[in-house]
Protein backbone atom coordinates (compact mmCIF):
# COMPACT_ATOMS: atom_id res chain seq x y z
CA UNK A 1 0.00 0.00 0.00
CA UNK A 2 1.34 3.29 -0.99
CA UNK A 3 2.17 5.50 1.90
CA UNK A 4 0.08 8.60 2.31
CA UNK A 5 2.91 10.41 3.93
CA UNK A 6 5.56 12.17 1.95
CA UNK A 7 9.13 11.87 2.87
CA UNK A 8 11.35 14.90 3.34
CA UNK A 9 13.23 13.77 0.33
CA UNK A 10 10.18 13.98 -1.89
CA UNK A 11 9.40 17.50 -0.67
CA UNK A 12 12.90 18.57 -1.48
CA UNK A 13 12.68 16.94 -4.88
CA UNK A 14 9.35 18.54 -5.76
CA UNK A 15 9.17 21.85 -3.95
CA UNK A 16 6.15 23.90 -4.89
CA UNK A 17 7.72 26.13 -7.47
CA UNK A 18 7.70 29.70 -6.23
CA UNK A 19 7.24 31.96 -9.22
CA UNK A 20 7.07 35.26 -7.42
CA UNK A 21 9.00 35.49 -4.14
CA UNK A 22 7.26 37.23 -1.30
CA UNK A 23 9.29 40.44 -1.54
CA UNK A 24 8.31 40.82 -5.20
CA UNK A 25 4.66 40.34 -4.36
CA UNK A 26 4.64 42.83 -1.50
CA UNK A 27 6.56 45.46 -3.43
CA UNK A 28 4.44 44.89 -6.53
CA UNK A 29 1.18 45.62 -4.73
CA UNK A 30 2.58 48.51 -2.71
CA UNK A 31 3.84 49.95 -5.98
CA UNK A 32 0.44 49.38 -7.61
CA UNK A 33 -1.26 51.34 -4.83
CA UNK A 34 1.37 54.10 -4.86
CA UNK A 35 1.20 54.42 -8.65
CA UNK A 36 -2.59 54.71 -8.66
CA UNK A 37 -2.46 57.38 -5.94
CA UNK A 38 0.28 59.24 -7.82
CA UNK A 39 -1.53 59.06 -11.16
CA UNK A 40 -4.94 60.16 -9.86
CA UNK A 41 -3.50 62.99 -7.76
CA UNK A 42 -1.17 63.88 -10.63
CA UNK A 43 -4.17 64.30 -12.92
CA UNK A 44 -5.65 66.69 -10.37
CA UNK A 45 -2.45 68.74 -10.43
CA UNK A 46 -2.30 68.60 -14.24
CA UNK A 47 -5.83 70.01 -14.43
CA UNK A 48 -4.76 73.17 -12.58
CA UNK A 49 -2.63 74.14 -15.57
CA UNK A 50 -3.01 71.67 -18.44
CA UNK A 51 -0.03 71.15 -20.73
CA UNK A 52 -2.29 70.20 -23.61
CA UNK A 53 -5.79 71.06 -24.77
CA UNK A 54 -7.53 68.63 -22.46
CA UNK A 55 -8.18 67.99 -18.79
CA UNK A 56 -8.73 64.75 -16.94
CA UNK A 57 -12.33 64.05 -15.91
CA UNK A 58 -12.90 65.16 -12.33
CA UNK A 59 -14.19 61.73 -11.31
CA UNK A 60 -10.77 60.26 -12.05
CA UNK A 61 -8.83 62.72 -9.97
CA UNK A 62 -7.88 62.52 -6.35
CA UNK A 63 -8.00 65.27 -3.77
CA UNK A 64 -11.01 67.35 -4.83
CA UNK A 65 -8.96 70.43 -5.73
CA UNK A 66 -5.36 71.35 -6.48
CA UNK A 67 -4.35 71.63 -2.81
CA UNK A 68 -5.81 68.21 -2.00
CA UNK A 69 -4.20 66.67 -5.06
CA UNK A 70 -0.84 68.06 -4.03
CA UNK A 71 -1.19 66.68 -0.50
CA UNK A 72 -1.90 63.22 -1.88
CA UNK A 73 0.89 63.48 -4.45
CA UNK A 74 3.51 64.54 -1.93
CA UNK A 75 2.38 61.88 0.54
CA UNK A 76 2.19 58.97 -1.92
CA UNK A 77 5.57 59.95 -3.37
CA UNK A 78 7.26 58.60 -0.24
CA UNK A 79 5.52 55.28 -0.64
CA UNK A 80 6.49 55.16 -4.32
CA UNK A 81 10.11 56.22 -3.79
CA UNK A 82 10.92 54.11 -0.73
CA UNK A 83 9.23 51.03 -2.16
CA UNK A 84 10.81 51.65 -5.57
CA UNK A 85 14.26 52.08 -4.11
CA UNK A 86 13.89 48.90 -2.03
CA UNK A 87 12.75 47.08 -5.17
CA UNK A 88 15.74 48.26 -7.21
CA UNK A 89 18.21 47.35 -4.48
CA UNK A 90 16.67 43.92 -3.88
CA UNK A 91 16.29 43.28 -7.60
CA UNK A 92 19.97 43.89 -8.23
CA UNK A 93 21.25 42.32 -5.01
CA UNK A 94 19.35 39.05 -5.41
CA UNK A 95 20.29 38.81 -9.06
CA UNK A 96 16.62 38.73 -10.03
CA UNK A 97 17.01 41.50 -12.61
CA UNK A 98 20.05 39.83 -14.16
CA UNK A 99 18.34 36.47 -14.25
CA UNK A 100 14.83 37.41 -15.33
CA UNK A 101 15.15 40.58 -17.38
CA UNK A 102 18.39 39.99 -19.22
CA UNK A 103 19.58 39.49 -21.83
CA UNK A 104 17.21 41.49 -24.05
CA UNK A 105 18.22 40.86 -27.65
CA UNK A 106 16.61 42.63 -30.62
CA UNK A 107 16.21 39.30 -32.39
CA UNK A 108 14.52 37.80 -29.37
CA UNK A 109 12.18 40.77 -29.01
CA UNK A 110 11.28 40.68 -32.71
CA UNK A 111 10.63 36.97 -32.58
CA UNK A 112 8.40 37.20 -29.51
CA UNK A 113 6.53 40.26 -30.78
CA UNK A 114 5.70 38.33 -33.95
CA UNK A 115 4.68 35.32 -31.88
CA UNK A 116 2.53 37.48 -29.61
CA UNK A 117 0.77 39.15 -32.52
CA UNK A 118 -0.08 35.77 -34.01
CA UNK A 119 -1.16 34.44 -30.60
CA UNK A 120 1.62 31.88 -30.59
CA UNK A 121 3.47 33.20 -27.57
CA UNK A 122 3.29 30.55 -24.91
CA UNK A 123 3.13 31.12 -21.13
CA UNK A 124 3.81 27.57 -20.06
CA UNK A 125 6.64 28.47 -17.74
CA UNK A 126 5.82 31.59 -15.79
CA UNK A 127 9.27 31.66 -14.22
CA UNK A 128 10.82 32.62 -17.54
CA UNK A 129 9.92 35.95 -19.06
CA UNK A 130 9.71 36.11 -22.83
CA UNK A 131 11.52 38.91 -24.63
CA UNK A 132 8.48 41.16 -24.87
CA UNK A 133 7.98 40.86 -21.12
CA UNK A 134 11.66 41.50 -20.49
CA UNK A 135 11.62 44.61 -22.63
CA UNK A 136 8.43 45.96 -21.06
CA UNK A 137 9.40 45.18 -17.48
CA UNK A 138 12.91 46.60 -17.88
CA UNK A 139 11.49 49.56 -19.80
CA UNK A 140 8.90 50.39 -17.17
CA UNK A 141 11.60 50.37 -14.49
CA UNK A 142 13.53 52.94 -16.52
CA UNK A 143 10.34 55.01 -16.93
CA UNK A 144 9.76 54.71 -13.18
CA UNK A 145 13.23 56.07 -12.49
CA UNK A 146 12.69 58.93 -14.97
CA UNK A 147 9.34 59.93 -13.51
CA UNK A 148 10.82 60.04 -10.01
CA UNK A 149 13.86 62.06 -11.16
CA UNK A 150 11.73 64.61 -13.05
CA UNK A 151 9.29 64.73 -10.14
CA UNK A 152 12.05 65.37 -7.61
CA UNK A 153 13.55 67.98 -9.94
CA UNK A 154 10.26 69.84 -10.18
CA UNK A 155 9.70 69.58 -6.44
CA UNK A 156 13.15 71.06 -5.69
CA UNK A 157 14.30 72.93 -8.81
CA UNK A 158 16.79 75.00 -6.81
CA UNK A 159 18.17 72.50 -4.30
CA UNK A 160 18.22 69.69 -6.88
CA UNK A 161 18.93 71.97 -9.85
CA UNK A 162 21.12 69.29 -11.46
CA UNK A 163 18.09 67.04 -11.85
CA UNK A 164 16.28 69.78 -13.76
CA UNK A 165 19.45 70.49 -15.77
CA UNK A 166 19.58 66.81 -16.71
CA UNK A 167 16.34 67.26 -18.63
CA UNK A 168 17.06 70.77 -19.94
CA UNK A 169 14.86 73.14 -17.97
CA UNK A 170 11.85 73.17 -15.68
CA UNK A 171 9.14 73.14 -18.37
CA UNK A 172 10.90 70.27 -20.19
CA UNK A 173 11.08 68.24 -16.99
CA UNK A 174 7.34 68.79 -16.68
CA UNK A 175 6.72 67.38 -20.15
CA UNK A 176 9.00 64.40 -19.49
CA UNK A 177 7.13 63.78 -16.23
CA UNK A 178 3.84 63.83 -18.14
CA UNK A 179 4.99 61.47 -20.89
CA UNK A 180 6.38 59.04 -18.31
CA UNK A 181 2.93 59.05 -16.69
CA UNK A 182 1.39 58.36 -20.10
CA UNK A 183 3.82 55.47 -20.64
CA UNK A 184 2.97 54.03 -17.23
CA UNK A 185 -0.76 54.26 -17.99
CA UNK A 186 -0.25 52.52 -21.33
CA UNK A 187 1.81 49.84 -19.60
CA UNK A 188 -0.88 49.47 -16.95
CA UNK A 189 -3.59 48.83 -19.55
CA UNK A 190 -1.57 46.15 -21.35
CA UNK A 191 -0.27 44.68 -18.09
CA UNK A 192 -3.70 44.31 -16.49
CA UNK A 193 -5.24 42.99 -19.70
CA UNK A 194 -2.57 40.31 -20.05
CA UNK A 195 -2.78 39.37 -16.39
CA UNK A 196 -6.50 38.79 -16.86
CA UNK A 197 -5.87 36.76 -20.02
CA UNK A 198 -3.37 34.57 -18.18
CA UNK A 199 -5.00 34.32 -14.73
CA UNK A 200 -2.32 32.02 -13.34
CA UNK A 201 0.14 34.90 -13.66
CA UNK A 202 -2.17 37.00 -11.48
CA UNK A 203 -2.45 34.14 -9.02
CA UNK A 204 1.33 33.89 -8.88
CA UNK A 205 1.54 37.58 -8.03
CA UNK A 206 -0.88 37.03 -5.15
CA UNK A 207 0.00 33.66 -3.61
CA UNK A 208 3.38 33.17 -5.22
CA UNK A 209 2.66 29.99 -7.15
Amino acid sequence: MASLTVSDEQVRANPAKVIQPVWVRIMHWVNALAMILMILSGWQIYNASPLFGFSFPREYTLGGWLGGGLLWHFAAMWLLMINGLAYLITGFATGRFAKKLFPITPAGVLHDVRAALTFKLGHDDLTVYNYVQRLLYAGIIVVGVLIVLTGLGMWKPVQLYYLVALFGDYPTARYVHFFCMAAICAFLVVHVLLALLVPKSLRAMIIGR
Binding site: L33, I36, L37, L40, I45, Y46, A48, S49, L51, T61, L62, G63, G64, W65, L66, G67, G68, G69, L70, L71, W72, F74, A75, W78, L79, K156, P157, V158, Q159, Y161, Y170, P171, R174
Partner: protein, 260 residues
Protein backbone atom coordinates in the same frame (compact mmCIF):
# COMPACT_ATOMS: atom_id res chain seq x y z
CA UNK B 1 -13.48 106.18 -18.29
CA UNK B 2 -14.84 104.70 -21.47
CA UNK B 3 -13.70 101.17 -21.07
CA UNK B 4 -12.17 99.23 -18.27
CA UNK B 5 -8.58 99.71 -19.06
CA UNK B 6 -5.92 97.38 -17.90
CA UNK B 7 -2.96 99.07 -16.44
CA UNK B 8 -0.50 96.67 -17.92
CA UNK B 9 0.17 96.85 -21.59
CA UNK B 10 0.84 93.39 -22.85
CA UNK B 11 -1.27 91.56 -20.31
CA UNK B 12 -3.73 89.50 -22.26
CA UNK B 13 -7.21 89.84 -20.82
CA UNK B 14 -8.41 86.38 -21.78
CA UNK B 15 -5.29 84.75 -20.40
CA UNK B 16 -5.71 86.75 -17.27
CA UNK B 17 -9.30 85.67 -16.70
CA UNK B 18 -8.43 82.10 -17.58
CA UNK B 19 -5.62 82.17 -15.08
CA UNK B 20 -7.69 83.58 -12.29
CA UNK B 21 -10.53 81.11 -12.85
CA UNK B 22 -8.07 78.27 -12.71
CA UNK B 23 -6.80 79.42 -9.37
CA UNK B 24 -10.30 79.75 -8.01
CA UNK B 25 -10.58 77.10 -5.36
CA UNK B 26 -13.33 74.63 -5.92
CA UNK B 27 -16.27 74.94 -3.56
CA UNK B 28 -15.65 71.38 -2.58
CA UNK B 29 -12.03 71.96 -1.66
CA UNK B 30 -12.78 71.50 2.01
CA UNK B 31 -13.98 68.03 1.23
CA UNK B 32 -10.94 67.14 -0.79
CA UNK B 33 -10.68 63.80 0.89
CA UNK B 34 -13.98 62.63 -0.53
CA UNK B 35 -12.19 61.35 -3.60
CA UNK B 36 -9.73 59.48 -1.47
CA UNK B 37 -12.18 57.91 0.91
CA UNK B 38 -13.21 55.40 -1.70
CA UNK B 39 -9.71 54.05 -1.82
CA UNK B 40 -10.23 51.71 1.08
CA UNK B 41 -6.84 50.22 0.37
CA UNK B 42 -5.28 53.22 2.00
CA UNK B 43 -5.97 51.64 5.37
CA UNK B 44 -2.96 49.51 4.48
CA UNK B 45 -0.85 52.58 4.90
CA UNK B 46 -2.29 54.15 7.94
CA UNK B 47 -4.05 51.38 9.72
CA UNK B 48 -6.86 53.85 10.23
CA UNK B 49 -10.35 53.82 8.86
CA UNK B 50 -10.14 55.83 5.68
CA UNK B 51 -13.87 55.83 5.24
CA UNK B 52 -13.73 58.35 8.03
CA UNK B 53 -12.37 61.07 5.79
CA UNK B 54 -11.14 63.21 8.67
CA UNK B 55 -8.53 60.62 9.58
CA UNK B 56 -7.21 60.63 6.01
CA UNK B 57 -7.17 64.41 6.12
CA UNK B 58 -5.27 64.25 9.39
CA UNK B 59 -2.78 61.79 7.87
CA UNK B 60 -2.20 64.07 4.88
CA UNK B 61 -1.69 67.06 7.17
CA UNK B 62 0.89 65.14 9.17
CA UNK B 63 2.74 64.10 6.01
CA UNK B 64 2.67 67.72 4.83
CA UNK B 65 4.26 68.78 8.14
CA UNK B 66 6.83 66.04 7.70
CA UNK B 67 7.48 67.41 4.21
CA UNK B 68 7.99 70.89 5.71
CA UNK B 69 10.70 69.41 7.93
CA UNK B 70 12.32 67.50 5.05
CA UNK B 71 12.40 70.63 2.90
CA UNK B 72 13.84 72.73 5.70
CA UNK B 73 16.48 70.05 6.18
CA UNK B 74 17.60 69.96 2.56
CA UNK B 75 17.34 73.74 2.14
CA UNK B 76 20.80 75.07 1.43
CA UNK B 77 20.90 78.79 2.27
CA UNK B 78 23.70 79.31 -0.24
CA UNK B 79 22.09 77.48 -3.16
CA UNK B 80 21.04 80.10 -5.67
CA UNK B 81 18.05 79.89 -7.97
CA UNK B 82 19.21 79.84 -11.61
CA UNK B 83 19.31 83.27 -13.25
CA UNK B 84 18.62 83.97 -16.90
CA UNK B 85 19.55 86.46 -19.63
CA UNK B 86 17.04 89.18 -20.51
CA UNK B 87 16.23 87.36 -23.73
CA UNK B 88 14.73 84.53 -21.69
CA UNK B 89 12.07 86.73 -20.05
CA UNK B 90 8.52 85.49 -20.60
CA UNK B 91 6.42 88.07 -22.45
CA UNK B 92 3.82 88.88 -21.43
CA UNK B 93 4.51 87.81 -17.90
CA UNK B 94 1.23 86.35 -16.62
CA UNK B 95 -0.92 88.13 -14.08
CA UNK B 96 -2.01 85.51 -11.62
CA UNK B 97 -4.27 85.72 -8.62
CA UNK B 98 -7.49 84.24 -7.33
CA UNK B 99 -9.28 87.38 -8.51
CA UNK B 100 -9.57 89.46 -11.66
CA UNK B 101 -7.06 92.25 -12.22
CA UNK B 102 -9.93 94.72 -11.86
CA UNK B 103 -10.34 93.49 -8.30
CA UNK B 104 -6.65 93.62 -7.47
CA UNK B 105 -5.69 95.96 -4.63
CA UNK B 106 -5.28 99.50 -5.92
CA UNK B 107 -2.77 100.99 -3.53
CA UNK B 108 -2.05 104.72 -3.42
CA UNK B 109 1.72 104.86 -3.27
CA UNK B 110 1.72 108.31 -1.65
CA UNK B 111 -0.32 107.13 1.35
CA UNK B 112 1.18 103.67 1.62
CA UNK B 113 3.58 102.84 4.40
CA UNK B 114 5.26 99.56 5.14
CA UNK B 115 4.49 98.66 8.71
CA UNK B 116 7.19 96.75 10.61
CA UNK B 117 6.22 94.74 13.68
CA UNK B 118 7.42 92.05 16.01
CA UNK B 119 10.96 91.17 17.03
CA UNK B 120 12.73 94.20 15.56
CA UNK B 121 14.65 97.07 17.16
CA UNK B 122 13.23 99.78 14.96
CA UNK B 123 9.49 99.56 14.38
CA UNK B 124 9.27 102.71 12.29
CA UNK B 125 7.00 102.54 9.24
CA UNK B 126 8.60 103.10 5.86
CA UNK B 127 7.32 105.29 3.04
CA UNK B 128 7.83 104.25 -0.54
CA UNK B 129 10.33 107.06 -1.13
CA UNK B 130 12.41 105.87 1.81
CA UNK B 131 12.37 102.30 0.57
CA UNK B 132 13.29 103.34 -2.98
CA UNK B 133 16.51 104.81 -1.57
CA UNK B 134 17.72 101.41 -0.36
CA UNK B 135 20.43 99.81 -2.53
CA UNK B 136 18.71 97.65 -5.11
CA UNK B 137 19.62 94.73 -7.33
CA UNK B 138 18.02 93.21 -10.41
CA UNK B 139 17.41 89.49 -10.76
CA UNK B 140 16.03 87.52 -13.67
CA UNK B 141 14.65 84.29 -12.26
CA UNK B 142 11.98 81.71 -12.90
CA UNK B 143 8.69 82.13 -11.09
CA UNK B 144 7.17 78.69 -10.52
CA UNK B 145 3.48 78.49 -9.74
CA UNK B 146 1.98 75.83 -7.50
CA UNK B 147 -0.23 75.00 -10.51
CA UNK B 148 2.78 73.84 -12.48
CA UNK B 149 3.30 76.64 -15.00
CA UNK B 150 6.35 78.84 -14.77
CA UNK B 151 7.53 82.13 -16.26
CA UNK B 152 10.80 84.03 -16.25
CA UNK B 153 10.72 87.63 -15.07
CA UNK B 154 12.99 90.48 -14.06
CA UNK B 155 12.60 91.87 -10.57
CA UNK B 156 14.44 94.77 -8.98
CA UNK B 157 14.54 95.64 -5.31
CA UNK B 158 16.35 95.57 -2.01
CA UNK B 159 17.58 92.26 -0.60
CA UNK B 160 15.28 91.45 2.31
CA UNK B 161 18.19 90.36 4.48
CA UNK B 162 19.78 93.81 4.18
CA UNK B 163 16.52 95.39 5.26
CA UNK B 164 16.12 92.96 8.17
CA UNK B 165 19.61 93.91 9.30
CA UNK B 166 18.82 97.59 8.90
CA UNK B 167 15.75 97.43 11.14
CA UNK B 168 17.55 95.28 13.71
CA UNK B 169 15.39 92.22 13.24
CA UNK B 170 16.02 89.23 15.47
CA UNK B 171 17.14 86.85 12.74
CA UNK B 172 16.98 83.94 15.17
CA UNK B 173 13.21 84.27 15.02
CA UNK B 174 11.41 81.61 13.03
CA UNK B 175 9.36 83.62 10.57
CA UNK B 176 8.79 86.84 8.75
CA UNK B 177 5.04 87.09 8.32
CA UNK B 178 3.72 89.27 5.52
CA UNK B 179 0.31 90.84 5.27
CA UNK B 180 -1.11 92.21 2.06
CA UNK B 181 -3.63 94.82 0.98
CA UNK B 182 -6.01 92.23 -0.52
CA UNK B 183 -9.48 92.79 0.84
CA UNK B 184 -9.78 89.28 2.22
CA UNK B 185 -6.45 89.61 3.93
CA UNK B 186 -3.84 87.68 1.98
CA UNK B 187 -0.91 86.77 4.16
CA UNK B 188 1.94 84.32 4.14
CA UNK B 189 4.68 83.23 6.52
CA UNK B 190 8.27 82.99 5.29
CA UNK B 191 10.74 80.91 7.27
CA UNK B 192 13.69 83.00 8.47
CA UNK B 193 16.32 81.06 6.54
CA UNK B 194 14.48 81.70 3.29
CA UNK B 195 13.98 85.33 4.30
CA UNK B 196 17.75 85.63 4.71
CA UNK B 197 18.49 83.92 1.39
CA UNK B 198 20.64 86.24 -0.77
CA UNK B 199 18.07 86.30 -3.59
CA UNK B 200 15.03 87.06 -1.44
CA UNK B 201 14.02 90.57 -2.34
CA UNK B 202 11.67 93.44 -1.45
CA UNK B 203 10.70 94.14 -5.02
CA UNK B 204 9.81 97.60 -6.29
CA UNK B 205 10.27 97.18 -10.03
CA UNK B 206 9.32 94.72 -12.70
CA UNK B 207 11.32 94.85 -15.97
CA UNK B 208 12.97 98.05 -14.74
CA UNK B 209 9.62 99.84 -14.42
CA UNK B 210 7.91 100.70 -11.15
CA UNK B 211 6.07 97.55 -10.11
CA UNK B 212 2.69 97.71 -11.86
CA UNK B 213 -0.57 96.98 -10.10
CA UNK B 214 -0.83 93.57 -11.73
CA UNK B 215 2.42 92.43 -10.19
CA UNK B 216 1.87 93.82 -6.71
CA UNK B 217 2.36 97.60 -6.49
CA UNK B 218 3.84 99.03 -4.38
CA UNK B 219 5.87 96.12 -3.01
CA UNK B 220 6.17 92.42 -3.67
CA UNK B 221 8.36 89.96 -1.85
CA UNK B 222 10.16 88.00 -4.51
CA UNK B 223 11.45 84.65 -3.22
CA UNK B 224 12.96 82.66 -6.10
CA UNK B 225 13.39 79.68 -3.79
CA UNK B 226 9.64 79.44 -3.14
CA UNK B 227 6.53 78.70 -5.15
CA UNK B 228 4.66 81.75 -6.44
CA UNK B 229 1.99 81.87 -3.75
CA UNK B 230 4.76 82.44 -1.19
CA UNK B 231 5.80 85.59 -3.07
CA UNK B 232 3.26 88.01 -1.57
CA UNK B 233 2.16 91.07 -3.54
CA UNK B 234 0.66 94.39 -2.34
CA UNK B 235 2.53 93.93 0.94
CA UNK B 236 1.50 96.32 3.72
CA UNK B 237 3.29 94.91 6.73
CA UNK B 238 5.93 92.49 7.88
CA UNK B 239 6.21 90.93 11.29
CA UNK B 240 9.24 89.13 12.66
CA UNK B 241 7.87 86.41 14.87
CA UNK B 242 8.40 83.01 16.41
CA UNK B 243 4.73 82.13 16.01
CA UNK B 244 3.38 80.28 13.04
CA UNK B 245 0.52 82.55 12.00
CA UNK B 246 -0.62 80.61 8.95
CA UNK B 247 -1.29 81.99 5.52
CA UNK B 248 -4.07 82.46 2.99
CA UNK B 249 -3.24 79.36 0.94
CA UNK B 250 -1.25 77.54 3.61
CA UNK B 251 -4.39 77.38 5.79
CA UNK B 252 -6.32 75.79 2.94
CA UNK B 253 -3.82 72.99 2.49
CA UNK B 254 -0.96 74.16 0.31
CA UNK B 255 2.26 72.88 1.81
CA UNK B 256 3.60 75.60 4.06
CA UNK B 257 7.29 75.41 3.21
CA UNK B 258 6.69 75.05 -0.54
CA UNK B 259 10.33 75.68 -1.25
CA UNK B 260 12.18 75.06 -4.47
Amino acid sequence: MAKRSFLIPGVDKRLLIKDSIKTMPDVTRRRFIAGGASLGALSLLTGCDVVDSSSAEEMLKQVSKFNDAVQAFIFNPDALAPTFPESAITKPFPFNAYYDLDDAPDVDGADWKLEVRGLVDNKKSWTLDELYKLPQVTQITRHICVEGWSAIGSWTGAPLRDFLKLIGADTRAKYVWFQCADKDGYNSPLDMRSALHPQTQMTFKYANEILPRAYGFPMKIRVPTKLGFKNPKYVISMEVTNDYKGGYWEDQGYNSFSGS
